[in-house]
C-alpha cells in the first residue's frame, strides 16, 4: 500500500503532508501533556516498531495473484493507544521511505495519513468500542480488518483525488475489505496472545 513517487499530483501530496503533520504534532503534544512516554512504553514502542517493520517485509501470496503484508496500524493503535500508535507507525514508515525507498518521498504524507494515522485511529476506536461486548480476539479481528480497509479506502481516495477518478477508491476499497480479514486475524491473534502472556502491554 506504500504509494511511490509519481503517483500523486503536487497539491494532493502537499495537502496529505499537511494533514499528517498536524496529526503528528497533535500526537507529540498529547504524549507530552499526558506523560504517555514512560520507560515501559518506550520499550514497547521500540519492540512493536521493530516487529511491524520486519513483518511488513514478509509478503504473503494469495490466490488470484495478489499479495498481502501486515500493515500493523490497527495493532499499533490497540497496543500503544492512538497517540503513541501514530508515532510508532510514522517511525516505521519514515525509516522505510528514507532508508529503503519503500514508499515515495513525495508520498510520505499520504502513506503516513493512510497507514500511520487512519488505520491506527480506526483500529483503536473499533477495538475500544467492541471490547465492551466481545472478547479480545474478536475485537482485535474486527479492529484489524476495518483498520486495513479504512487505510485502503483513504489511500484510494488520495490517489483518486490526484487523478479525478473513483476507480482507485473502488479497487483499493474492495481489495482491502478482503485482504483486511487476514490483517484482522493476525491482529486478533497477537492481541489475544498479549492478553494472556503480557497483560501489562495492553494496559495503558
Amino acid at each position: 500500500m506504500h504509494i511511490p513517487d509519481g503517483f500523486l499530483t503536487l497539491p494532493v501530496a502537499l495537502i496529505s503532508l499537511a494533514i499528517s503533520s498536524v496529526f503528528i504534532a497533535l500526537s507529540i503534544r498529547k504524549i507530552r501533556n499526558e506523560n504517555l512516554l514512560t520507560s515501559d512504553r518506550i520499550s514497547i514502542l521500540t519492540s512493536l516498531s521493530a516487529g511491524i517493520f520486519v513483518a511488513q517485509m514478509i509478503a504473503w501470496p494469495l490466490p488470484g495473484g495478489t499479495s498481502l503484508h501486515l500493515v500493523g496500524g490497527g495493532l499499533a493503535g490497540i497496543v500503544m493507544g492512538p497517540w503513541l500508535g501514530i508515532i510508532t507507525m510514522s517511525l516505521v514508515l519514515l525509516i522505510q521511505c528514507l532508508l529503503f525507498h519503500d514508499g515515495g518521498i513525495t508520498a510520505i504524507g499520504a502513506n503516513i495519513l493512510s497507514m500511520g494515522i487512519i488505520s491506527v485511529l480506526t483500529g483503536y476506536t473499533i477495538y475500544r468500542l467492541l471490547r465492551r461486548f466481545t472478547k479480545h480476539f474478536i475485537a482485535g479481528v474486527i479492529a484489524g480488518w476495518l483498520s486495513l480497509t479504512s487505510a485502503g479506502i483513504v489511500s484510494g481516495t488520495i490517489l483518486g483525488a490526484s487523478w479525478s477518478s473513483y476507480l482507485p477508491i473502488y479497487i483499493m476499497g474492495v481489495w482491502h475489505i478482503a485482504l483486511g480479514i487476514i490483517e484482522g486475524m493476525i491482529t486478533g491473534s497477537v492481541i489475544s496472545y498479549l492478553n494472556v502472556k503480557a497483560k501489562n502491554v495492553l494496559r495503558w
Binding site: D5, G6, L37, G51, M57, A59, G104
Partner: protein, 93 residues
Amino acid sequence: MLSKNTIIALLTLLLISPLFGITLADMLGYHEPLDLVAEELGLEEEEHTWTPLKEYTFPGLPHWLGYIISGAIGLLIIFAIGYLIKHMAVVTG
C-alpha cells in the same frame, strides 16, 4: 530493553523474510492492489534514488542476503532511536 523472546521472534521473521519477499514473489509474480490501480490509470513510478539500500537491497550482495542485511539495518536503527528516546526521556525526567 528487549526480551529474549522478542529478539528471537524478530530474528526469525528477518531470516524467513526473503523467502516471502523475494523467492515466492518472483516465483508467483504476485502484486499488491496498488499495482492494479497503477495499471488502470497508467501510472508509472518516478525513479529517484537517494539510498543505496533501495527496495531492501545491498550493493554487491545477492538480493536475498541484501534483504536480510537491509532488514537488520532497519531494526538496528529502530533500536537506536528507541534507545535515544529512552535516554532523553530519562534525562529530561
